[in-house]
Structure formats: structure tokens, C-alpha cells
């Protein structure tokens, strides 16, 4: 647990959040993507994936965040934390806006050239939104971590 001393409680929490984001999205997308491709997007195969994801997230949060908060001292946020948080929200906002703009373009493109690219169904759009949300959240965490490391 010595390496924990090199990182603040907040940094470790962000690392844990980032890891959870990546693990859950990789698992979820890898399970859902084949269903989307094979047009089998219905509740029967999806529900177990959703339940597994939720249970994994809860167990991970209890164990990892618990360990972090036991072995490192929790500190109140100060002005630097808020500043870096705001900075990261700005990046997250840009990613979301870019993603939404991309979806709009994709939908328009799909209407115009449907025969060439295939039908853009609501589940596919939902999946794209999910990927944008993951990217936005990952970007936010990475920017925060970068700022924390840069100033040490």
C-alpha cells in the first residue's frame, strides 16, 4: 500500500472512477455490440448484461472506494480541487457537444445515404450516446488527473 502515499485521496478516487468507467463500458459495449450488429437487440439477452454491469459496479465501488478511503485520509475540497474540476467539466462539455453534433450529422447522413451505410436504428443511436457519455466522463477524469500530476 506504499504507492498510495504518492497520491491524494481525491486522485485515487478519480483513478478508481476512471477504471470503473473503462471496465464497465468495455464489458457492456463488447456484449451489446454483437447484438446490435445481428439485430438481436431485445430484452432477453440485454437484461443479464445490464444486471451484471450494475452488480459489478456496486461491488467494485464498495471494495475499491472502501479500500481507498480506509488507507488514505479524506480531505475537504479546496479552491485548487474546484478549479481543476471546473477545467475538466469544460473539456467534458466540449466532448459532449462535439458528440451530439456528430450524432446529428450522422442521422442526417443516414437519411441521405441510407442504402450505402445501413439503417441507423434507435438502439444504435442509444449506443452512440453511451459511447459519447463514456468518452466525456473519461476525458473529464483524465484532465483532472493530468492537472493534479502537473502541479506536483
Amino acid at each position: 500500500m506504499k504507492f498510495l502515499n504518492n497520491y491524494s485521496n481525491r486522485e485515487l478516487n478519480i483513478w478508481a472512477e476512471l477504471a470503473l468507467n473503462i471496465l464497465v463500458s468495455l464489458y457492456f459495449i463488447s456484449k451489446i455490440y454483437p447484438l446490435l450488429i445481428n439485430d438481436q437487440f431485445n430484452s432477453e439477452p440485454i437484461l443479464p448484461v445490464i444486471f451484471t454491469t450494475i452488480i459489478f459496479s456496486i461491488v467494485y465501488s464498495i471494495i475499491v472506494f472502501g479500500v481507498i478511503n480506509i488507507f488514505t485520509k479524506q480531505e475537504e475540497k479546496d479552491e485548487r480541487d474546484y478549479l481543476y474540476e471546473l477545467n475538466s467539466y469544460k473539456i467534458s462539455y466540449y466532448i459532449s457537444q462535439g458528440g451530439i453534433l456528430g450524432i446529428i450529422c450522422l442521422i442526417l447522413f443516414n437519411v441521405l445515404y441510407q442504402e450505402n451505410v445501413g439503417l441507423l436504428t434507435p438502439p444504435k443511436i442509444a449506443m452512440i450516446f453511451l459511447i459519447i457519455a463514456v468518452l466525456s466522463s473519461t476525458g473529464k477524469s483524465l484532465i483532472q488527473l493530468f492537472n493534479y500530476r502537473k502541479s506536483i
Partner: protein, 69 residues
């Protein structure tokens, strides 16, 4: 990296204040120890309020603790 234009004497002032630890200063200035580390490394410019709080901890005028380059 962008160089900070506000320089500070926190490390010296801590040393002169009976070798006050970063943790003690952080507690007195109501910030995290990481913020004190970043300040001492001249990699973070504090808000005016925090600058005043730190100067008050050492009981020195603001301009003795912080200088603008």
C-alpha cells in the same frame, strides 16, 4: 508548462516558523497538503483569499509571502 508569475516564499516562511510542516500549514490555511506542495513548487497561483490566509498564518504582510514577477 506555463510558468506562474506569482512567486511565493512559503518554503522559507515555513522553515522560519519553527519548521512548520506542510500538513500543519495546510490545516491552518484550510487547504489540502497537495495544494501547499503545488504552491511551494511554484506551479499553482493561489486565489487572493488563500494568499491572505497563508500570509496571516505566518503573521507577515501579503507582499512578503507573495511577489508578482
Amino acid at each position: 508548462m506555463k510558468e506562474q508569475r506569482i512567486k511565493n516564499q512559503i518554503r522559507r516562511l515555513r522553515f522560519e516558523a519553527d519548521e512548520m510542516t506542510q500538513a500543519e500549514l495546510a490545516e491552518k490555511a484550510r487547504v489540502t497538503r497537495q495544494t501547499i506542495i503545488a504552491l511551494e513548487a511554484q506551479k499553482y497561483s493561489p486565489s487572493l483569499e488563500l494568499a491572505f490566509r497563508i500570509a496571516k498564518v505566518f503573521n507577515v504582510p501579503l507582499e512578503e509571502a507573495f511577489q508578482f514577477d
